[in-house]
Every structure is written in structure tokens, then in C-alpha cells.
Symmetry: C2
Subunit: 227 residues, 2 copies
Amino acid sequence: MLILGIETSTFAGSLALIKDDFTLCEYNFNFGPKHNEKVVPAIKWLLKEANVKKEDLYGVSVASGPGSFTSLRVGISTAKALAFSLGIKLTSVSSLEVLASNIVATEYQICPIINAKKNEVYYAFFNNKDELGRIGDDSFISPEGLCEKIKEKTVFLGDGLIEYEELIKERLGSDALFAPSNLNTARASHCALLGRDKFLRNEFDDFTTLVPNYLRKSEAEIKHGLK
Amino acid sequence: MLILGIETSTFAGSLALIKDDFTLCEYNFNFGPKHNEKVVPAIKWLLKEANVKKEDLYGVSVASGPGSFTSLRVGISTAKALAFSLGIKLTSVSSLEVLASNIVATEYQICPIINAKKNEVYYAFFNNKDELGRIGDDSFISPEGLCEKIKEKTVFLGDGLIEYEELIKERLGSDALFAPSNLNTARASHCALLGRDKFLRNEFDDFTTLVPNYLRKSEAEIKHGLK
């Protein structure tokens, strides 16, 4: 089962090809808002590197949010276009779950945070001693409100730390642990592996209906009174 | 400080560009013994993707072993040739330390293992609650001997698990934890970050003298009675 993983929930992006649970190759990049320019050529490059044809893909697994609206749209549009044009399966996974997968074999709570602008972060709680377990739903909150929820040692990771690491350190002291810098971005190999679990459970998305999981309304929706 | 990380200690390879402690891009690949064919073109591709020139590199950090003799030679030869031709700094880091860096924020002991053939593995022990700490030197041992050394919960990772995961499970039971499949290969972003720490401490290697850290003699050395 050859799967392409696409992760573009923030300014960092990641693409990966997995064959069953084996990661053939993965490209992680963090060049700012350039996904539209980078993603499709990089997919072509990875397929060539791995010496596989696009027609050999069983499916594509895409991180569907929450995250940066524009970044998510690029990844999801690409995934839907591939599913449509190649006639392959499609599934979507939570961006926060993909990010949380960077932390394993820990007894601490895991809290991935993505900057949601307007002094809020997208977040969820997980644990991962033997395998990733979700404690609550994906949601959004102020960083101050998030700190108030935390009553135990917690590993934080994600691009929300760029703006809020100092605040979290100040509020939580030694209860807050932080991953090294290169674990603050999500990996498409995890996105593909989580998607594989869904494919094996026959959980598919439809390219005619899949939309990003923004959690909040976009600026444009608020401005124009759209649902 | 722009640094190229090169990690080719096993059949899996990884290349990364970091700018200070920020990972610009990283390419992980696992295509078998093809490093000689893949490494230099992929470095060229990453530099182009990141829109930086090879002349902008401050230095190169290479994983110098222990690991697969042939794979290591490709990475180290490439790193030395770049240091020589571009006149940039060179440093080397332990392959086992790069691999161990995949596991963070844990209270468990970390044991990266790389298959050393002849029923032996290269291994070392680390911990990583707040930052990576080394417990002992890089060494080699039979997998059975390794299990006898372990008296506490330990996270195993690395390509040594392909052959020895079942044996470790059988001997250690619930004291053995295993990382998901895509954390069993080392990341060049970690290699570059560890190299950056060395550069900042003015710890450099010399391209005229750097050799792989094989720990054991190669088959050719044994056969021809070389030192």
C-alpha cells in the first residue's frame, strides 16, 4: 500500500511516501508561505527519487487542520486533485495529531499548539507511552487560558511556541517541557502512517466534499457574513 | 550560521540545511545501498529549494559512525570533499547520538541500536528529559548481551530492530518500548544541530584526517591483516 502524505498546516510543509509502514522518503521544508510553489514539484521529485509512478499510489493522506487557512488550502487542494485525477483513495487526519506524533515513549501529557492568530492557539491533548492516545478534541483558546487548563507535566511543541514559549514557561515553570526546534514542525511520514490506519479501517474522504477543518471562521467569512 | 547535515550511517540516509537552530529543509530517504548515487544530487536540490548558495555554507556536520562501513564512507567522503573544495568548516558527530535525538521528553533510558552484522549491534545509552545526555560510550555487543545489561524501562530505536525486535521483546517484556517505524532512522537536522553545538564550542574536524568511527575492524582489514 503506497501512500503519499501531505502536511501543510503551517508555513512549514512536509511530503512523504510510505510503503505499508515503511517510510521510503520524506521532504520537510520551512520556507514561509510558498506551499503553492513548492508542493507539486516536490511530490514529482519524491516519486522520481523513490522510483515509483504516481499511478502506483494507493492513496493520499492529508493533514486537514486546524492550522493556517491558506497553507491548509494548498495541501488539501493538491490532495483532492490527485485523488480525482489518479482515481486513488483519499483520507484526512488532524494536523494536531500529526504534530503530536513527534513525541513518543513519554509519561508526560503532550500538547501540540499551532498559532491561530488573534491571541489564540489551536491545541489538543494527547498521551503516547506505547501508542498515541487522544485526551480531548482539537480546539482553540488563548495561551493564558491553555496554561490554566494544565495541572501536570506537559510537553509542548508546534509553531505556537514561536510567540508563546516565554509566556508558557513563565506560567507553568517546570511543568512545561519543550521539544528541540526541529520537532516543532509536523512530519508527513506521520501523516501518511495515520492515514494508513484509516485506510485499513476503510475510512475514506470524498474529494468532492472534503474541506479544511478550520475550527474558527476565516477573516473572509466573517467579513462577508458567510457561514 | 548555515550548516549542512549529512547522515548516512545505514541504508537510510538524511540531508538537512539548518540556519542557526532553524531547520530550513530536510530530506530523509531509505532506498537501500544507493547513497553514492543519491547524496550529491540531493544536496544540490536542497540548496536550490532553500535558495542558498553552496558558498554560503558555514560548515558541514557529518555522522561519522558507528554504522554500515560503505554507507558511512559515502557521507564522510562527501563531507570532506565539500569542506576541502568550499573551504568551509567540518565537524563529526556520533551516529548513535543523532539517532537517540529522535526521542525527547522521556524519563526512560534510550538505546539506539544499529545492526553491526555477525550477530552484534552498535549501541549506546542516553537519557533525554530536558536535553540529550549520554550515559556511556558507543560500543558493540551481541543483542543477547545487550538485553542482559538492561535493568530499567528502555526505549529502543534504530535499524537493529529489523532483526532483533522480537528477541528484545522476548527477553525484556514490558521493560522494552519501541518507537514508531519512521523514528527508526536518523535525521540530518539532528546531525546538523549537534554539529552546530560543536562549531559554537570551536570543535572542528580536519578534512585531511577525519575517518569513520567503525569501532570494529572491517572485513577487508581483517582479511588483509591491516590495522
